[in-house]
Amino acid sequence: MKDTLPSTDYIELRFGPRWTYIGCVRKFIASFFLIGLADKERAEQISVAASELLENAIKYSSGDDSSLHISIRKYDKEVDVCVRNPAEPRQISLLRREFAMITSGDAEDIYLKRMEEAAKTADQSRLGLVRIIYETEARLHLEVLENEVALHAIFPVE
């Protein structure tokens, strides 16, 4: 998205799907955008979104040896957090359905419903994506490429 537009602040990281890296990335992003935006709440929201997108990517990407790619770009009026990971057709199909469901109604209602359902089952909940929408008010965008998905969380900024 918007690769041709000028970006004033830019982070790009690529790493193996190791869970313990997520916390490091979250803290780094929070510090980086606290400086870049001078808005603690927004910096925290961006770091939470990045963290949940990375957790989602590690849980649902295809293959343990695949790498994750996160890029965060600040434009004039928005910040785009994008996480890319390899995915098989079945996972892409599930993600499309999930994405359509969580973006089709009131975020609070969907988040509450998901919480209740998740509390009753041992299955994976995918609460993270709807959490991003509800807690941070970011706009989510799903990009499907060949054997790869990219999930964007887009934040308006001043």
Partner: protein
């Protein structure tokens, strides 16, 4: 008067949970962060044991203080919701209230903690939410 409970502290990585009983009130202080991959393996048994102990000891109020909890991932949130769901299923004789002390200056707490009240309005109360 409630009997003394046998709930121990829990410490794992950056997370600490410290209980302290004061008569009929049980205070649970959570601090640090919850960002492990499968927090349910650690937290679900803890909340289940706590729930059983609270009911059998006759405790009527649990104060859950999360003001020192800087971050909790969505899997950790589910564990907390699971406990609240367990607690709201008790009979009136067994029932206890959960008072959640949260911090409005921490983004996830400001948005997500008030939803616990919507999930279980009969038993959850939000307490001192000052930053």
């Amino acid at each position: 008067m409630a009997r003394k409970t046998a709930i121990s502290s829990l410490s794992s990585g950056d997370l600490k949970i410290v209980p302290a009983q004061d008569g009929d009130l049980l205070r649970i202080k959570m601090s640090g962060i919850v960002d492990m991959r499968d927090p349910q393996t650690l937290l679900n048994p803890y909340w289940e044991k706590l729930d059983k102990e609270v009911v059998s000891a006759g405790i009527k109020e649990v104060e859950l203080d999360v003001r020192g909890l800087d971050f909790m991932n969505s899997s950790g949130i589910i564990c907390m919701v699971r406990w609240i769901t367990l607690a709201k299923g008790h009979t009136p004789e067994e029932a206890y209230r959960i008072v959640v002390q949260h911090d409005l200056s921490i983004g996830w707490q400001k948005k997500t903690i008030p939803l616990f009240l919507k999930l279980a309005p009969a038993i959850v109360t939000l307490g001192g939410a000052a930053p």
